[in-house]
Subunit: 414 residues, 2 copies
Amino acid sequence: MKTKWDQLFAERTRNICGSQIRQYFALTERPEVISFAGGFPSNEFFPTAEIAAAVSGLMQEEGNQSLQYSSTEGSMELRALIAEKMSRQNAQCNPENIIITDGSQQGIDLLSRILINPGDPVLVEEPSYIGGTSAFRSHGGIPVGIKMDQDGPLPLSMEKTISMLITEGKQPKMFYTVSNFQNPTGVTTSYERRLEILEIASRHNIIIVEDNPYGELCYEGEIPPSYKSLDREERVVYLGSFSKVLIPGIRIGWMAGPGPLIEKAILTKQSTDLCSSSLGQQLAYRLSKEGFVEKHTRKLIDLYRRKRDVMIEAIDHYFPPDVEFNRPRGGFFIWVNFPSSYPTSKELLELALQNNVAFVHGEGFSNSGDGGTHSARFSFSQPPQEHIKTGIKTLGNLFWEIETRQSLKAVEKV
Amino acid sequence: MKTKWDQLFAERTRNICGSQIRQYFALTERPEVISFAGGFPSNEFFPTAEIAAAVSGLMQEEGNQSLQYSSTEGSMELRALIAEKMSRQNAQCNPENIIITDGSQQGIDLLSRILINPGDPVLVEEPSYIGGTSAFRSHGGIPVGIKMDQDGPLPLSMEKTISMLITEGKQPKMFYTVSNFQNPTGVTTSYERRLEILEIASRHNIIIVEDNPYGELCYEGEIPPSYKSLDREERVVYLGSFSKVLIPGIRIGWMAGPGPLIEKAILTKQSTDLCSSSLGQQLAYRLSKEGFVEKHTRKLIDLYRRKRDVMIEAIDHYFPPDVEFNRPRGGFFIWVNFPSSYPTSKELLELALQNNVAFVHGEGFSNSGDGGTHSARFSFSQPPQEHIKTGIKTLGNLFWEIETRQSLKAVEKV
């Protein structure tokens, strides 16, 4: 009898769905396409020579240990280094409060697994990072969007959403935020806003999950103090990563939080994958300790700033003025809002792909019914500067054509 | 208001519990202790020079790609190589049927997440690998033990257990087995037994999860054909790993299974950790393609065989004859049964630790109420040969003392 797989999947498996980004991968990854879709760091900036040298040094000095399983919580050296760094940034932290994870994505997944009961609402930014919301969903959580402006999540929207949920008998447990150069909008939550959000969270016993993969890629000014550094109630769980400032290919991130949570996270991670890559941990440690990561980050800031500037200048120059966009001070992303008279951003993406340019349409990032239909995420991290210019120019032509056709139709009607 | 963490954990978090192995880590890892506890591969056999050379080559030739995120399913090259290798072993397989995982442990976790509803029974061997049963438990599964003999799980025990569960309205969905050189018993399931188990599984639409981390470390004779190679019904999910034949520190394993399952696994893994380490994948690929992994495995077989022989000879020589043990033909583990007149294996472990020798007592591996109280797992993989001899001698003295004291007491009573 052939196996009846349909009968075998668990309830929770019905909730999993692929990221729309992944669905478009086959199209956006064609070599002729200029892609603003992927939010990956730029290949061209990877420090290959330093990685080779570091591995060679590791193998000579402590090869055995860096090829063995590590403890589930991760290497003590690396956790101590991270704790020290966070403490220098006023986010007081001990190695015991840190668990090494497979990128910060695993931190989100472990947290979801530890905290979410099926049906639990999870407060998120509207729009929000797809990898976050899909992790919440895969554990039965229901992302509920908090509206944002240029200063971050709106306290009033948060208050109203919480009240509404409590009325429905659903106490939200956590608020997930990418506080600096948010994915997908590029927005950084202001200092005042952070204080307001913390105060609301405190009043309702809600945890703040602060995911900060981009914070160190700041191209202008300074980022506000982290939620973690403002926390006096063990309320904030901080997720960090080496993916954007070093390399993603070693899958090394961390979660910093209160003891009881980290203990649960270690036990959960143990049955998930035993431990994160020791080779990756040792590389992250060695290259941080030697000061290379810091130096490399400064270089990355210069390189990515230039790409951002090229994209913003090109948009300023080529896009019709009623296509709105923000000017992020760091990170990888520019959020674009199209006039409501335009085709939906999904339709625009189809048109763009016919012209060999790709971006991500906004719907997947939205957690309200009809959000994102006229928005899109443009990433400037990967394409070379020349391609950024060409791609934006192509899109500009496309948008001007749409507007011209619309004007002509309006004239015909008159 | 200080955060009330107690109120925030999800239902499923109550089910997670640490491995007893981990609880004893602090004790067994003291440098003066000869430890037969950990089931890690031996540090001394890690190919540090080859790893350094491979990374150096990778960085020169394709550094950028091996430091970037990979696709969630993993590198096409590595999947093709694994598929070819499995097909050569008569387990026909395409790259599309394979997902790269963070060690085979992540395969177990993904499967649990995809298949298990809270309360679902999961058939396991009695005793069984703790990492497997704790993954099942952490998703609400209830491991139910199938008794074993020297030829593997007993078909009669399996039939009876399934009948009993069905009577209780609980259809089991899967049977988890470490078919070669099992962790913890070292038992290899015979060919005939595999056919019988497959037939039972087919009749009840039960999936077989074949976890095979040790199969290639065969010191005598040959292993029987894999369940996967005998499967004509898309019933078997195969878990493989580079941890034992290459290194665990890159966290690279794989799951091979039918299309619908692999598709769910990819979607689930995406929100779990995005992808496995690209650097690890490229290393596994490069060192396999060059034929190094195969060559290294042959060397490991010689080295581990010697350790096994030293432990078996020492046990033969130093242990009282009524302490029973098996003689595994491969892998890392020897299972020891103590006479029922002995103190429990937990108490024996305490005594052993006072004498600076460690092993794992049997209770944690058991999924019946009182199993394993007089059994223990001895691993010969890590300690050097000299330590194996010394450690076994120390334990032998301890066991003889116990027997002598018991005889004296018996004499006193007469």
